[in-house]
Amino acid sequence: MTDRGEQTVRYARARQTAWRRIGDETVVINLESKRMVALNESGSVVWDALENGAALAALAALLGGDDAASGQVLGFVEALAAEGLVEETGEAAALGDEASPVHPGAFVPPAIAWSEELLRFGGACNKYPDVSEFCNQLPKFS
């Protein structure tokens, strides 16, 4: 748990996000930064718990982790915050610190599996570097 004086910091999903669970992973888009990330299975558990806001201790408990694991959960939440996907909130947490572990087995650190910047011309080649990107090919019809 992160404490600032007497205050416990809680986190919640940022408003500018949309997400979808695909298999064990959760794919999340930041509609403002136009970046997309995928969260591994443990990360997906954390993401679900962040729906209504949660404290770090509750998140770590949810994954069945010990104090050392709390540091990894903090690192993950900070990574989400750096992506603009979560933000600190003063709202009441939906989870109590006594939350039962979703994964009572070995602790698997939550992680961002991949991230992609969403571009107007995706993986295409550069043609107008400062305007757009696409293949530098000439029409073959004429």
Binding site: A18, I29, K34, A38, V131, S132, F141
Partner: protein, 267 residues
């Protein structure tokens, strides 16, 4: 135009375009009208889009031969300083304007820029499109990974070799061709997506849906200036990754690769 889409407000430009000669072309299942008074220019456009004929109400009207927008709401898409030509687009009327000195390459570039904004039910990808026996395949990859090579191998099955469009249809997805660069108008139910790379043998390996979402995102043309369209694109892309089989495809440039592509696909 679909019944749910409001009719765009007509401006003087479109009214003028009615007196101009027009070429209609298919671009990802959308009808694009290209209007010009310049007969020679229009003949070139007609030739350029000869294999992509279309009919019906246009989703976009490109008016050639106008030096600037009538109304300030039109946004400048290209500038001479950066692209060598000027172009404007007004989303409220779905009109684009090209000056008289814009050539057909400029027209093609304009269509590629505007295409992602015109697809509320679809996404464009940097991809070749193949189709056979009623099944369509989207073959994504960066330049040099084999899109054109694959299209050249199968002229009867290749619909296009640079930009493919996936659109939602009842119960699934359809893949559509675009006039970039070689190919012909066409669409088919989407049976699978291939992520291309050259290899020493033909082999395909399934890509897990979560990973596939990232690969597809990398090769999509995102409507980055339209948050609502970005949200719709995200919904479509993740649905696509979850429901359509995606494979890594290593291939040799020989016709035998079709057996690998057309093999049964399972999500």
């Amino acid at each position: 135009m679909s019944a749910s889409s409001p009719a765009p407000r007509r401006t003087r430009h479109v009214l003028e375009s009615h007196s101009r000669k027009t070429v209609l072309t298919d671009c990802g299942g959308l009808v694009v009208a290209v209007a010009s008074d310049d007969e020679a220019w229009l003949d070139l456009a007609r030739e350029r889009f000869a294999t992509f004929p279309a009919s019906g109400d246009p989703a976009l009207t490109v008016i050639h031969g106008i030096e600037g927008p009538e109304r300030p709401v039109a946004s400048r898409v290209f500038t001479k300083a950066t692209a060598g030509f000027d172009a404007w687009y007004d989303p409220s009327t779905r009109e684009a304007i090209l000056p008289a000195d814009a050539d057909l390459e400029a027209l093609g570039d304009l269509l590629r820029v505007l295409l992602p904004r015109l697809l509320p039910d679809g996404l464009a990808f940097h991809a070749a499109v193949l189709a056979g026996a009623g099944r369509g395949f989207l073959c994504v990859g960066a330049c040099g990974t084999g899109k054109s090579t694959l299209a050249d191998l199968f002229p009867a099955r290749a619909l296009c070799d640079e930009i493919g469009v996936v659109r939602q249809k009842a119960g699934g997805f359809a893949v559509h061709s675009t006039p970039f660069w070689k190919g012909r108008s066409g669409s088919a139910p989407l049976a699978g997506v291939y992520v291309l790379r050259h290899g020493v043998a033909n082999a395909r390996h399934p890509v897990a849906p979560g990973t596939a979402a990232g690969v597809l995102a990398r090769h999509a043309f995102w409507p980055t200036d339209d948050p609502r369209a970005m949200r719709q694109g995200f919904a479509l892309l993740t649905d696509l990754a979850a429901r359509v089989p995606v494979y890594d495809l290593a291939f040799r440039p020989t016709p035998e690769v079709w057996q690998t592509i057309a093999a049964e696909t399972t999500a």
